[in-house]
């Protein structure tokens, strides 16, 4: 558990609320604009890559809970576990060196997207009946019109949109980290891993 304590130094603790606010500000803008992505995990991925898997998981978890419990978009709260998984995977991928170039970030994003679609589908299907009021419902409708039942339709929708969304997010995070001064990156446990 010593690595756990190291992940949560003061600078990380200050970064996490900033990351959560980024998630919500960008994610909500995209939601209102009804664009076919989410882009609600950029902060989560950033923390995961810089500070580590546990910090990333916590960022994702809290983002969704806060988003839901403060009344801004209650639909997000049940997906807290998915966001935690994304943060954790981002941290592990960074440790494995899979966020160190734009194309590696892209591939990592695609893989994480598929996993996140798989974890989201049951939640989406059970709590929401496959529908969340976002722009992606049209896709679910399409799959349902083919005769798919709720769970497969939710997963199919997710499998189409999530990998692209996460691939974009991971590449954006890679871009941002490359733009950060080394002095700042060095304050984080994994900050110097991507060069």
């Amino acid at each position: 558990m010593n690595s756990l304590r190291k992940e949560f130094n003061t600078t990380t603790l200050v970064l996490i609320p900033v990351a959560i606010a980024i998630n919500i500000a960008i994610g909500h803008t995209i939601y209102i604009l009804k664009l076919p992505f989410y882009l609600d995990s950029i902060g989560t991925i950033l923390v995961g890559v810089l500070a580590g898997p546990w910090a990333g998981a916590l960022t994702g978890l809290l983002s969704n809970l806060i988003w839901g419990f403060t009344g801004l978009n209650p639909a997000y709260a049940p997906f807290a576990a998915v966001a935690a998984v994304i943060g954790m995977l981002a941290g592990l991928a960074a440790q494995a060196g899979w966020v160190s170039s734009w194309w590696k970030a892209l591939i990592t994003g695609l893989v994480v997207g598929v996993i996140s679609a798989a974890v989201s589908a049951p939640i989406s299907a059970y709590v929401f009946g496959g529908v969340t009021g976002s722009g992606n419902d049209a896709l679910v409708a399409m799959f349902r019109s083919f005769g798919a039942s709720v769970l497969p339709a939710s997963f199919a929708q997710g499998a189409l949109t999530d990998p692209v969304d996460k691939a974009i997010s991971f590449v954006l995070v890679w871009l941002i980290i490359m733009a950060l001064p080394m002095r700042f990156r060095a304050r984080f446990p994994q900050g110097q891993m991507q060069t």
Partner: protein, 258 residues
Amino acid sequence: MSEQFSIFQSRPSRLHALHPVTKLVLTFCLLAAALLLPGLWTNYLLFALAILPLATLGQVTGPLLRAVWPTVLPFAISVFLIQGIIYPHGTPLFSLGPLTLKREGLLLAISGTGRILMVVSNFILFALITRPDTLMLSLVQRGVPGGLAYIVVASIQLVPRFRARAAAILDAQHARGLETTGSLRRRLSAIVPLVVPLILSSLVDVEERALAIEARAFNHPGPKTSLIEITEAGWERPARWLLLLTVPVSLGLRLWLG
């Protein structure tokens, strides 16, 4: 509490005066009931018999309905269309031209909307009657790590500023002719100039803010005290335990009747 992110509304109500943990337990039990209790119309009953009276007690009925309606209505329409009409299988009930409403889909739509109605209104009620900082303080007093409380409350303070900045950047991009409508490719390329500056500018301050809280003894060892005092009525503790009993009851009813 103007300009805050949480929709908390301060009112001199008996509901607001409850201890934050009581409100948390109440929300949790209602959530469990909403997700577990069987029955097509159960969630609508819960909304009418639990949420609305509580909102009235808390003098927040207006804000509650105003916040719930725009979230639930689009969902209800979507689920009605997708489950009730677009899904091709099921017993037809009613036809209008090429569109057929099926019985199974209609039932799914009704129960789905009921569940969403309860989940959304439950969280919104909680947000309306709970101050985030006293909630976190009461949790810290019960052993939750101070770092976690810091993260939650700091996030709640930051979100409105970040949303304003995102809106400002979006406006500036529009003024420079950036399109956020139109082809997918165009919308995609609109994202980078929106996202990257927002994030980079907010990361600049992180180091100094960490220095600042260190300078205010944030990591000082030993027990912390609090300026704010949270009150708790004597009957609240046993009441919380009683409330929690409803959870196994909900579960039992589901297993037995579900």
